[in-house]
């Protein structure tokens, strides 16, 4: 139940149409909760039906811009959601699974993927840092936008973590290939140890 609340947040900051929301998502909330325009339109429909938002008075017809505004009930729902008890989401990163699989069937092709991910995370980190410099310059003492900054810092921290981890994993991969697989190019059939369960 996160997307509807993300939309409420965005609409409270500024009433918008579906497409406008989509674009704003792409450069802010979407960093940690991506959504396509289809998802957003669907959710807008549901939110309207639940009486949490309503369209500003305009000719309502297909293909025509429709601006939405948050109703008091919508704001209340969001306030409730902020305080709600929710379990942290588990990690669920396929790349880690693939590493685990590589430990069993051999790491052929993995290094390319690790390097590719490394490059992607480096780019993302650079983007975040640029945003940080633009929106939270060190000289401007923070007053009330501390929370927004904290969110951005989470993104920065995550990317930094992945970069560090990927570098180390690449090193591990090189070492392991060297130890266990003298002739490069072979598919490096795996240890197949008789093995601990982790």
């Amino acid at each position: 139940m996160s997307l509807p609340h993300a939309i409420l947040t965005a609409l409270l900051e500024k009433p918008s149409s579906g497409l406008e929301l989509t674009r704003r998502f792409d450069k802010s909330i979407g960093f940690f909760w991506p959504a396509t325009h289809q998802q957003i339109y669907r959710e807008l429909g549901r939110l309207e039906q639940s009486g949490l938002i309503h369209p500003l008075p305009q000719p309502p017809s297909r293909g025509q811009r429709k601006e939405y505004e948050v109703l008091p009930a919508g704001r209340a729902a969001l306030v409730g959601w902020v305080a709600e008890r929710q379990e942290p989401k588990a990690i669920r990163e396929p790349l880690l699974l693939r590493l685990r699989a590589a430990a069993v069937v051999g790491p052929a092709g993995l290094d390319a993927e690790l390097r590719r991910h490394l490059a992607l995370h480096e780019r993302q980190l650079a983007d975040y840092l640029a945003i940080e410099q633009r929106d939270f310059p060190p000289e401007a003492a923070e007053t009330e936008n501390r929370l927004q900054h904290a969110v951005l810092r989470a993104g920065i921290g995550m990317e930094a973590f992945w970069i560090e981890w990927l570098n180390q994993a690449l090193a591990d991969l090189r070492d392991q290939d060297q130890d266990a697989d003298p002739q490069p190019g072979s598919p490096s059939d795996p240890p197949s140890n008789g093995e601990p369960d982790r």
Copy 2:
């Protein structure tokens, strides 16, 4: 398409029945790809139908243990998956959304959640560190289980990151309340600035 490959990995390490797999997931692969027994049974059925695994010869009847083994085609599929090109998953952590929302509608109740999450991550980190000490003691030079260790290190790093970030976020929250909301207990109606989009 991650769960089936996670299962193939686990089955390669050791042929198992559905329940056995479920239990093994709970204490290893499930840390970064949780799965319930229902999911696992369904996936086992599909994997069998696709000819990637097959049940060891045993009376096949409901309620009776059924052990599965990976077929060569299954191993090949896994090898292919390891080398496959996949985009990194976006973050998608609702807690960050809630912080963002709190920046708009006020942080009432947020601190409790942050503290609760902090405690959970601290516990998880402790668990991971215990596993690390058990399975990858510093004295035993690593030979071929480097990749498994790397996966575990990712878990450790993630938890450590969250702990650090949550502590900082809690500090931010305190500072902000202090600055903007002299009398404690009021719902602290938010800045509602006329505002940058992030």
